[in-house]
């Protein structure tokens, strides 16, 4: 298969029909992965379609670099309508499923309809089967992994699957691959469960043909050399995705007890979650995704105590924030266990801890009591209570079924003032803390998929030591500025949004790019253009590639305007980051967001995108400029274009 040749596999679960089609113009205009997935959704999904109805589509896609030796090109994008927000749902994972899918000859799989009974899909090169999954229903992700491998008789088969939470249509259910790699956010597991689809297994024996393999390998070699020399990435290889975060640094914001504190209050807490503890006490090894030199997937093993025997993969900085700071668990073994439990039940850790933290704060304030929680006492840091609630959420039992709705909907059910403590953006639970870093706050709040940092949020402190030359060259900025400066953050976020769209659509891991790793030893748009051109034989400049990134970002914005009715009013941070001065010490003591300054930053952000300030909507002129004339027509017919 040439690198430009992959097909779309379309699986109609309702009538068990399987068809194939060419990617066609979608590939030229949106590259692949997230870009093409979103294009299919916008074209095919009516705005009235409910995310959990049979009408919704679940689109799985890889990028043109995936399946080749391009460094860090392993990513899979899973896209659908978001059960939290009604806007775009889009989630992304690494591993080996994406490459395997391409080697089977497919770039995208569109799942539509709903199977009458539980099924799983087996793609064995060009042979595609819908198989019974009755015996897998109710199984955890780990059990499902083992069972399907045994059934197919191939330990190397690649899969994505849901756990019991997805089957029960828990809104925060995720899709897991390779035991503990999650396409976490946006409830993609709930959508998959609503289709009665337990798993997709794939085995490919083909190859991706590259027109100029010699020059392609030369570029691969150069990029590999850069990434290996990057000190930030070296730390990731040593410590895993957790990295080497020192929580005692006063710069580090935390989400302590549902964002009631911005700094960890006790030195003992800080000491308990020190990265060296995980490194020295639990590290077994590190592994990498397909062709990735970073090998940040840390394997931790617990050798004694109540969680003895647990081997878990991929502890993240997020997990420390979520289970440690947010839920007040300062026991490293319990943190490893709780995150692994979520992965086994198929629950996204961001959404799960979000709704749990809401419940615990409500209990703390006397808004809810044991009569609401099925008699369970909710005391911060009580690991036993967290385990019980995670199990009840996944099974949708009692209070767990209310939690399964996410904090916004759960608070609407419970009432009694609990709505105030539901920390969400656009209906999806919030993981990020937003007091200090303005580029982080802006990127998170305006994120098209509903309040997440992986769509343009900038952690500018990571780039502070760049020289003015490098700063100009890579980010087009005169200086990075202080993290709490509002100035200069809007252009930074706009640039990151485009770059992220490119990485997700080419199939690259964001960690290998200048989005996360400080340049010059990281992949920038020039590297992406060189890789794409050598891989596909289609010459493209970095500027042209960035225009595609802008196109994809506008496409998603248009989907949200059309499907979720979002306007400027949705692009504001939750009250807590504006009203509560909970940065209790350090250089940013008392720091929070100013709505007046936020408004100015938002104006600048919309201006840079060519979106109307008043509504936040893209204009016809902008959509036409980025090559989305037909999208402008669709919005125009729906009365959702700003007046000229």
């Amino acid at each position: 298969m040439r690198s430009t040749d992959g097909q779309i596999l379309r699986v109609h679960l309702s009538d068990r029909k399987i068809t194939r089609e060419e990617v066609g113009e979608g590939g030229e205009r949106f590259l692949g992965g997230r870009g093409v997935n979103q294009w299919l959704l916008l074209k095919e999904l009516p705005p009235a379609a409910s995310p959990l109805s049979a009408e919704n589509l679940l689109v799985i896609g890889t990028g043109p670099l995936v399946g080749t030796p391009a460094p860090a090109a392993c990513r899979l994008s899973i896209d659908s309508k978001n059960p939290f927000t009604n806007g775009i749902g889009s989630s992304n994972c690494g591993g080996n499923f994406g490459p395997e899918l391409r080697l089977a000859g497919f770039n995208h799989v569109v799942i539509q309809g709903r199977a009458e009974t539980p099924v799983y899909l087996f793609i064995d090169d060009r042979r595609v089967e819908i198989r019974d999954a009755g015996h897998l229903w109710g199984k955890t992700t780990w059990e499902t992994d083992a069972k399907i491998k045994e059934e197919i008789g191939d330990p190397n088969i690649q899969m994505i699957y849901i756990g019991p939470a997805g089957e029960k249509i828990v809104r925060g259910a995720c899709i897991i691959t390779d035991l503990e790699k999650a396409a976490g956010r946006c409830g993609m597991g709930a959508v998959m469960g609503s289709k009665n689809l337990k798993a997709v297994a794939v085995r490919g024996s083909g190859s991706v043909e590259v027109p100029h393999p010699e020059s392609f390998m030369e570029i691969v070699s150069q990029i590999l050399g850069k990434l290996r020399a990057n000190p930030f990435l070296q730390k990731r290889g040593e410590y895993g995705i957790y990295g080497h975060v020192l929580w005692g640094e006063t710069l580090r914001e935390t989400s302590w007890r549902n964002f009631q504190g911005g700094i960890l209050p006790s030195p003992d807490q800080i000491a308990a979650i020190h990265p060296d503890i995980f490194l020295q006490k639990f590290k077994k090894k590190s592994i990498s995704c397909w062709s990735c030199p970073i090998h940040c997937r840390m394997i931790h093993e617990i050798k004694q105590g109540p969680y003895q025997g647990l081997i878990s993969e991929g502890l993240e900085n997020n997990d420390i924030q979520l289970f440690g700071a947010k839920l007040n668990v300062f026991d490293p073994e319990a943190i490893l266990y709780l995150r692994s439990l979520c992965n086994q039940y198929g629950l996204d850790t961001d959404n799960t801890t979000g709704v749990l933290a809401w419940a615990f704060e409500c209990y703390q304030r006397g808004i809810i009591g044991p009569e609401t929680t099925d008699g369970l006492e909710l005391k911060w840091g009580d690991v036993g209570a967290y385990i019980q609630l995670i199990e009840r959420m996944a099974a949708r039992q009692g209070f767990g079924s209310i939690l399964a709705e996410g904090s916004q909907r759960a608070s609407a059910i419970v009432g009694n003032g609990s709505e105030k403590y539901a920390m969400h953006i656009k209906g999806q639970d919030l993981a990020e803390q937003l007091w200090v870093h303005k580029g982080w706050a802006l990127g998170t709040v305006v994120s098209a998929r509903g309040g997440t940092h992986t769509r343009g949020a900038v952690l500018s402190t990571r780039f502070e030591s760049l020289s003015p030359e490098l700063c100009r060259k890579y980010y087009g900025l005169e200086k990075i500025g202080r993290p709490n400066d509002y100035e200069g953050k809007a252009p930074f976020v706009v640039l990151f949004e485009k770059l992220q769209a490119l990485a997700d659509s080419l199939g690259l891991c964001t960690f290998a790019t200048i989005l996360w790793a400080p340049p010059p030893q990281a992949m920038d748009q020039e590297d992406m253009a060189r890789l794409f051109s050598a891989c596909t034989g289609i010459d493209i400049s970095p500027g042209e590639l960035m225009k595609i990134g802008e196109r994809i970002h506008n496409l998603e914005k248009a989907f949200n305007v059309l499907h979720a009715d979002w306007t400027r009013r949705e692009d504001y941070p939750p009250w807590r980051f504006v009203e509560e001065k909970v940065m209790m010490s350090g250089p940013f003591q008392g720091e929070c967001l100013s709505l007046e300054k936020w408004d100015k930053m938002l104006d600048e952000y919309y201006e840079l995108h060519g979106w109307e300030r008043k509504s936040g909507w893209p204009t016809r002129e902008t959509l036409e400029k980025v090559g989305l004339r037909e999208v402008a027509d669709i919005l125009g017919r729906a009365g959702k274009l700003p007046e000229a």
Partner: protein, 75 residues
């Protein structure tokens, strides 16, 4: 998996794991990784010739987590 791909590049100037002299199995629950290097041709799989004609064995040069290290030629 990059080692598998670059091995096939050495043999045939394309990326095709069917012809690679290296097979990697790393998908069990304990995350044990098994690397099998073909010491004789078998089916479509080429014999490992320690990258004759290349500056150094490509699997060791490109191995993403630097798990494969070339220590010298077998007698």
């Amino acid at each position: 998996m990059i080692c598998v791909m670059v091995c096939s590049f050495h043999h045939a100037r394309r990326f095709d794991r069917k012809i690679s002299s290296i097979e990697v199995n790393n998908f069990n629950k304990e995350r044990e990784i098994q690397v099998h290097i073909q010491r004789e041709a078998e089916g479509k799989r080429e014999l490992c010739d320690e990258c004759r004609g290349e500056e150094e064995p490509l699997c060791a040069r490109y191995c993403a987590p630097q798990a494969i290290i070339f220590q010298g030629t077998l007698k």
